[in-house]
């Protein structure tokens, strides 16, 4: 086999060790700066480990203890103990429970726990427009709508909300340029495209999408260096390997992106010494870009990785178990 430079291979062991080290870095600034993302961070780390085929690299019991310590009486999750509940944390909480196959653990600790979480989420739907707020303070965003359908479908509780109304709302977020935004008329953004397509896929309504036009908008996101950006004239960034590629996967148009060039861009974003991936080559790594880079590589069929579900950003084996398909 020809010798490939290190940065052109996926440094699996280093990434595993990087993720394992995250919770031991309490003396670093970054740890405190990201406290509002603690639960999301666990979901990102655990998902990355599963895709890297090191599912057991984090201790299950400690993980679950932490997840349950973030659960409020209301059924919502906060980012960390003592933090307010919000949709974005609740989705991560549910995704963690699903990945750890822990819905029974939930019922054992909190009677009727699944229903409670489902009701928290359902209570955030706006009955007029079908969209969702993030919490009691009322901010609305397609990220929250997607999160609601994601978590409810994983728990088998979609019937708690008005899915048709939610679908209508997402449809109203389609822009003339082909993309989708946070609300009707809002700027198109690859991240928002992912949330809107994800919601429509869960609802089985991809027929509402102008797939050619959106696919063309997404394919314009690839830059000469192989990386993808989120919007016109933004810099390339590893996390868009996920938002754009998962959208392309849902549209069945992965081949509209040059996969070889993107693979090599993602691999260049690795920290060859300490592991982890950064937004672009040479920058500081973080767990967010680590999971989305690896998930992007999984969509690109990089060898040695588990299959990722483009709708949920979770191992396909997990979503198959939860959804029964």
């Amino acid at each position: 086999m020809p010798k490939v430079p290190d940065e052109m291979q996926l440094l699996v062991d280093k990434h595993v060790r990087y993720i394992q080290s995250l919770d031991t870095r309490k003396d670093e600034l970054e740890y405190w700066l990201t406290e509002h993302l603690r639960l999301n961070g666990l979901y990102w780390g655990l998902t990355a480990l599963h895709l890297l085929r090191h599912a057991d690299a984090l201790p299950r019991k400690e993980l679950l203890d932490f997840v349950f310590s973030c659960l409020h009486e209301s059924g919502g999750f906060g980012a960390a103990p003592g933090h307010d509940a919000h949709m974005l944390y609740t989705v991560s909480g549910v995704q963690l429970l699903a990945t750890l196959d822990a819905f029974d653990d939930l019922e054992a600790r909190v009677q009727g726990g699944r229903q409670k979480i489902g009701k928290f989420i359902a209570g955030l739907q706006d009955p007029q427009t079908g969209t969702f707020a993030g919490d009691e303070w009322g901010e609305q965003d397609t990220r929250f709508l997607y999160g609601a359908l994601n978590a409810l479908s994983l728990m088998g509780l979609l019937h708690l909300v008005d899915v048709d109304k939610a679908v209508q709302h997402v449809h109203a977020c389609a822009n003339f340029d082909g993309g989708y935004g946070t609300s009707p008329g809002a700027e198109s953004h690859s991240g928002q495209v992912f949330t809107c397509l994800g919601a429509l896929t869960i609802a089985g309504r991809l027929d509402l999408v102008d797939q050619e036009k959106l696919g063309a908008w997404l394919s314009e996101r690839q830059l000469k260096n192989g990386g993808l950006n989120g919007r016109p004239e933004k810099k390339e960034d590893v996390c868009y390997s996920w938002w754009v590629m998962s959208s392309m996967a849902m549209l069945d148009r992965l081949h509209w992106i040059d996969g070889d060039k993107l693979t090599s861009f993602i691999l260049q974003c690795q920290d060859p010494e300490l592991g982890g991936l950064a937004d672009r080559p040479g920058d500081m790594v973080d767990v967010f870009h680590t999971v989305f880079g690896i998930a992007g590589l999984s969509l690109l069929k990089y060898p040695g990785l588990d299959e990722v579900d483009p709708v949920y950003c979770m191992p396909r084996s997990v979503t198959r178990r939860c959804l029964g398909k």
Binding site: K26, D27, E28, L29, W32, L33, E35, H36, L37, G78, A79, G82, H83, D84, H86, D135, W137, G138, E139, D141, F176, D177, G178, G181, T182, S183, G185, A186, E187, S188, H189, K213, R231, P232, E233, K234
Partner: protein, 339 residues
């Protein structure tokens, strides 16, 4: 950072108190805050103050945050410590603008003030709302990279604005209303300069629009944003906001005038910015918005021909034919004759 020790604890307290006192002293003013790189050390090691300009070394801010966080979680559920917790949230949000729990705590406090004071001592309540807006302006429009694009803080501002509008706009004259909205657009533009392509700042601007009823203010916004975009032609968020303003302009000739200006600007300066051309293709393909087929197609076609005749290929000479191609593919033709 958390390696304990008496020296560090003292420094932590000092950092927090100095920063917190600065906020207290300037709670009626908009200040400009900058995080200093490690190479710049203020005399005395805490802050660099020059009137309304504040330089905070990253290390000071981090130390102050640890103290603020401690006071916040200690006081958030204890009414005796609530004011200390409230004060701490300012430092927390300066360090971590996505600290949802800290932002919510401030909302809860303002909500309680409303219930307590709105009817019998409205000045107290009103003053608190104005001070909150100063605080938000200071963080959202300072050269702080993460803070100026924070979805949490922009939503906090939108929430606050509804309270403020209900106090200030009910009996306001048209001029006062125009001034009120203009100040919001100014903050968005400034924040858009601190953080280019600032998605959440411009989304905030979009969410203001349904609250604005005056056609004059709509026109003023469109003019102002058009000029702003021409000064920042790579800013897709600005262009996208401008596009969303077009349907608010009446009659249709106003929209045509605006598009005509932008097209000649692009052509005269031979600009190739992708964002500008995305704006052009998106509006030209929507005949329904422009009141029917316009002369713009021909203008663009002629420009393309000129570029084709030029000997040297350039970025523009690729951009224009692709723009024409997109328009022809996705044109949404007007179904009824214009009248």
């Amino acid at each position: 950072m958390v390696s304990a020790g008496p020296g560090r604890a003292k420094l932590q307290l000092l950092s927090y108190e100095t920063l917190s006192q600065y906020f207290q002293a300037h709670e009626d003013e908009v200040v400009e805050i900058e995080i200093l790189p490690p190479a710049i050390e203020p005399l005395g090691g805490i802050l660099m103050q020059d009137g309304l300009n504040l330089g905070v070394p990253k290390k000071t801010l981090a130390l102050a945050y640890v103290e603020a966080r401690h006071r916040f979680f200690e006081g958030m559920h204890d009414s005796k410590l609530a004011s200390s917790a409230l004060q701490a949230t300012k430092v927390m949000l300066l360090f971590d603008p996505e600290h949802l729990t800290a932002a919510n705590f401030r909302k809860g406090w303002l909500g309680a003030l409303e219930a307590e004071f709105k009817s019998y001592n409205p000045a107290v309540y009103h003053k608190a709302l104005r001070q909150e807006l100063c605080f938000l302006n200071s963080i959202l429009t300072s050269p702080l990279h993460r803070q100026s694009k924070s979805p949490t803080l922009w939503y906090h501002r939108l929430w606050l604005l509804d309270l403020l509008a209900s106090v200030e706009l009910e009996k306001a004259s048209e001029d006062q209303k125009a001034t009120f909205w203009r100040a919001e657009l100014t903050a968005v533009c400034k924040s858009g300069e601190q953080h280019p392509k600032n998605y959440y700042a411009w989304q905030y601007a979009r969410r203001l629009m349904p609250k604005i009823v005056s056609p004059e203010t709509n026109d003023e916004f469109a003019r102002h944003v058009k000029d702003w975009c021409c000064r920042h032609p790579s800013d897709i968020s600005g262009w996208s906001f401008l596009l969303s303003l077009l349907p608010r302009l009446h009659p249709v000739s106003k929209r045509q005038g605006l598009v005509r200006d932008i097209l000649s600007y692009a052509i005269n300066l031979r600009l190739e910015h992708e964002s500008l051309w995305v704006f052009i293709r998106t509006i030209l393909a929507q005949e329904t918005l422009l009141g029917g087929r316009t002369e713009f197609d021909e203008t663009l076609q002629n420009y393309n021909d000129d570029l084709g005749n030029a000997k040297k290929a350039s970025a523009v000479s690729e951009r224009v034919p692709r723009t024409l191609n997109w328009i022809n593919t996705y044109r949404e033709a007007i179904a009824v004759p214009k009248n």
